[in-house]
Symmetry: C2
Subunit: 422 residues, 2 copies
């Protein structure tokens, strides 16, 4: 048989627990602070927004968290996902590097986001919550949560960043097919939205504003919890199923990556693929973990490492993270999902301590690389498919974890061209 | 281990040959006729449009056709595809039926269409053709051919039915990302297009008109061949990779389907999944093969079985098939890909001889069923994901072969509700 293009796992090889990076970190993460008092908060402060199971996962120091049966059962709709060799991209770039990407685009919502959406919907349902509110930028997260809520019988309300709401009608109809109700943000339905519209009636919106609206709705309604698609510890925890599968897949072929590249907006994509490898790195293994972000929203590469709000208005607890300021209004770049002012506190801390790397990529080279990738590998970033990369042994293996995040393809192409010339 | 949700095959289990149904048919298909003389045509009449390898496949009586290495190599980007158990749909319908669907939505273009697009691009390239012209309705076929042309270094020109061109800008940008040039049909670039526009400047277009334009361009340019996404024998031949895989997958679990349901527009989806099972049926096995079409374009259920042109203007050879008349202008239903006046000659003949069944489903029940399927199984028909169905043993197994063809979901839901009540 020829060299395989894909490494598959059976359903019985699906990881049965998520990996918590905290015990592997040299320093324990700091607490969240109350938005008014700036004192460390306890679990009860988060209880109006999240179920206790998720609050527990936010602060746990257990290394492994069992994945509940109904979540595993839903994962099996599309998981385990393939690890695919980008043979044609290697040829197109003329590199001796071995490039692999972890393909998450086959999920019902077309991205990695359902990995945590399903878990969040499950835990909320288990604690008797009837309704979830959330925000969405490009539409990937809103789609994922709408899908998950349909699975577990929850109502779902999505505040969609207006620029995406206007530009992506099919994303909206996808969410509505799953039964969600979708409105453009900023909206007239919340104090946060009305305040923004009063200052700028034509505001294209931002993730930060949409988060304010969704949080305000959840905080003011007893039947409604809030759900976030990235940034928080429990979200990244659920995404580690990606990296855990990838590790098993590399084991099958007796390889180990040298570099993991992943797009990083709020951090869940990067954390999902990279954290399980970080444990090996912490134990002395040589592996580079590289987070890739857009130059137009350069959180890790140009932000301050400081306590800041997670939303635009200042309703959420303060988190220590790289931030461009919670009132940062990013330019209207195409990658709507990458326009967040902050970043995952866990990713931020690892970056601050020099344990991972971060690079920023400009939009034009992003599109160019996305087209290169699409023509070589047949995966089109416009459909939501470019991901992350890893490299192993000389001359190297990469993983690309495809979403609609072409900045990753740009960095992958640059990296391979500059560092692994044939 | 729990009952599996998916049956997977390894790359080494990918079929190495396509299955030709002709030797299994009780009657040999009739010849194609010249559009002017109405005499049977020989291979030379098709040579301005197709490479000799495909003309040979159009008329061959060999039962197996080897799949060329470069085609297999490209198939491995996403094949073999999973056979998925629709457990949640079964529960939602309260049926004891075992429902399986063959999931073709993970291909680069999001449908089954690349199975033949890749083969057609390969054979054209091998015979020195530089450029392909084609038409597309909903955009699935145009995307598939654009992808295939990018793989094999061919130029690609797509005439896209105007209704879809206006309504689906993302499909267009997908094709352009792969390097294709896309124009709305009817266009000013061909005699066929100009004639239609002269009579109706606001014509929303149809597949028949777009085919006329693409054929006219190929016939008038030495460097350009024509490529068709359905209807023809060689197209259905290439699609049999779907059914061949499904048979292997059922063998793995020791089951055999009772009923295969598949959406049928031009016939390539239906033929792809059903033809390999027809061979067993011809040998005495009990299996029902059901083609599902829209009531608004009821070719198999209300058409005449007669010789007719494949396009609107009358440029193509005449084929014996069920037809609504080559000048049939279907209503502007949402499923743009199902608005073709004719049907595959092979499928038509099997239907005429009572060897397969055909049913028509109305648009509203289609949408309702699509939503039922999406909420139960997480696959959204608006993204292009409802497929075909098979049933085995009592109380039965179905296969659904998902595309953006909700009529199939409608028939599946009706069939299960009426015939397999719990």
């Amino acid at each position: 048989m020829a060299e395989p293009r894909k490494i598959l796992l059976g359903e019985d090889e699906l990881p049965s627990a998520w990996f918590n990076i905290v015990p592997s970190m040299p320093t324990r993460p700091g607490p969240y602070l109350h938005p008014q008092t700036r004192e460390p908060i306890g679990p009860e402060a988060l209880a109006p927004l999240f179920p206790m199971a998720l609050i527990g996962q936010e602060v746990t120091t257990d290394e492994w968290i069992d994945i509940p049966g109904p979540v595993l059962d839903t994962y099996k709709l599309w998981r385990p996902t393939p690890l695919v060799r980008a043979l044609d991209l290697e040829r197109a770039l003329g590199t001796p590097a071995r490039i692999w990407y972890k393909y998450e685009g086959g999920s019902p919502a077309g991205s990695h986001k359902p990995n945590t959406a399903v878990a969040q919907a499950y835990y909320n349902k288990a604690e008797g919550v009837a309704r979830l509110s959330t925000e969405t930028g490009a539409g990937q997260w809103g789609s994922a949560l709408a899908f998950a809520c349909a699975r577990f019988g929850l109502e779902c309300k999505v505040y969609m960043v207006r620029a995406s709401y206007d530009g992506k009608p099919y994303r909206r109809s996808l969410m509505e097919t799953w039964g969600a109700s979708v409105i453009p943000s900023p909206s007239q339905e919340t104090n946060a939205g009305r305040a923004v519209l009063a200052a700028d009636p034509d505001s294209p919106g931002s993730l930060g504003i949409a988060i304010s609206e969704a949080v305000e709705e959840a905080a003011s309604r007893k039947d409604t919890n809030y759900s976030l698609g990235s940034v928080l510890n429990h979200v990244l925890l659920h995404q580690t199923v990606i990296g855990l599968e990838a590790k098993k897949q590399f084991e099958k072929i007796g390889e180990y990556p040298d570099v993991i590249l992943a797009a990083c907006g709020g951090g869940s994509n990067f954390g999902g693929i990279a954290f399980p490898f970080f444990a090996d790195k912490a134990a002395g293994k040589k592996v580079r973990l590289v987070a890739v972000e857009p130059t137009s929203c350069p959180t890790l590469t140009k932000g301050r490492y400081a306590y800041d709000f997670g939303d635009a208005v200042g309703l959420t607890p303060l988190m220590k993270m790289y931030t461009l300021g919670h009132d940062f209004m990013p330019p209207g770049i195409h990658a709507g999902g990458l326009r967040y002012h902050g970043d995952s506190p866990l990713v931020s801390q690892l970056c601050h301590e020099g344990l991972i790397e971060a690079v920023a990529v400009a939009q034009l080279s992003t599109f160019e690389a996305g087209v290169t990738f699409a023509r070589a590998e047949g995966l089109d970033i416009a459909r939501g498919l470019i991901h992350a990369a890893l490299r192993s042994g000389a001359p190297g293996i990469y993983i690309v974890a495809p979403f609609n995040r072409a900045d990753l393809a740009a960095e992958l192409v640059r990296f391979v061209r500059e560092e692994w010339k044939a």
